[in-house]
Structure formats: structure tokens, C-alpha cells
Amino acid sequence: MIAMLQRITCVDHIKIDSVSFSSIFQIGDSEQIQAISRALAVQREAEIFFDNEGNFNAFPIFSEAIPFQPADEENVVFSTHNLNPVLKVRNIDILGASSSSVVHLGNSRNIAMEARVKHIRQLLPRNDKTNGTNGED
């Protein structure tokens, strides 16, 4: 562990109303955080829900690679001087943390967060000719 560039987090009061869908509220240091959230957001004009639908493999957005430049390839000499080694926060108020998000009080080393969302909207057939209920156009 790198001991030198670490400060102490001091939070007097924190209030989070809800932590949902694989989210984390972490108090204290961590070493590695990796979070992935995938969502198919389907909106239909009528209230129809099929119980066995939705396959992430059918949509390339959920599997395509998101390339990153490796952090150690940057040619930067980095030096930090913690003259006051305390991060002080009086109050934090959060309504909700959701979908693989993280609220973290403390230090960490490597953090990687990823979110993939696909929106699909299904509308009722438009009836521009007569009052027929179905039809492709």
C-alpha cells in the first residue's frame, strides 16, 4: 500500500435515504472498486409487460469494449504534499444511491466504474387513415 499520499476523512454527519440496486456505502479505506451497471430501459405507450424478455447479448452496446489509455503510460512525475492530512466535511445529505454507484468515505487505490444503458421506446400504431387498430404504417 502507498502510505504517503493518504489523508484522513472526517465527516461529522451523513444521511443517505436509500442505497439500492447493488450500490455501496463504504466507510473506511478500500483497495479496489469495480462496478458495472447494465440497463435496458423500455418505455411502451400502453401498459404491457412481457415477463421473459430482455437479453443483453442481443445488443452490442452491452458487450462492446470501452478502451482506456493505461494510467501508467502518462509521463508525469506526481508528488503530493499533505500539509493538512485531514479532509473535513461537516454534513452530507444524499437522497439516493442507485445502480452500482458508490458513496465512499475514505481512501482507495484503483476505481473503475462502468454504466451501459439502452433506451427502447415502443409506440402504438399511428392510425392516419381510418380507425383501424393495427397496421404497419
Binding site: G54, S79, V89, I94, V103, I111, A115
Partner: protein, 60 residues
Amino acid sequence: MNFQVYNRDICVGDIRVIGVSSSSLLMVGDAETIQLAATFDTPSESLIVGPFVPLSPDIS
């Protein structure tokens, strides 16, 4: 390149946040590396006008 940081007194009063969502991070502390990635897709093909058809079924 030389990058030097002097962390003096950091004292925050109030942090008020409505929501932290979709692999977001709210952190009070130090980190060595942070990588964030998000893809958000709502292409024109995803607007389907016509009879409601189910999405391809879950076969996992």
C-alpha cells in the same frame, strides 16, 4: 512533466446531492486511479412504432 500538489486545509460545510446513480461515485478521500465509462444508446432504430413485440427473450 512534473505535477506537484500541496493539500492544505480542506474544510467543506454542506454537500447535498439528490442522486448518485448508474455507476457514479461520490467520494471523500484520495484515490490513485479513477476510471469512469458510460455508454448511453437511444438510436433511431430503438423507436418502434407498431404492434408491441417483446424484446428477444432472456436466455441466460
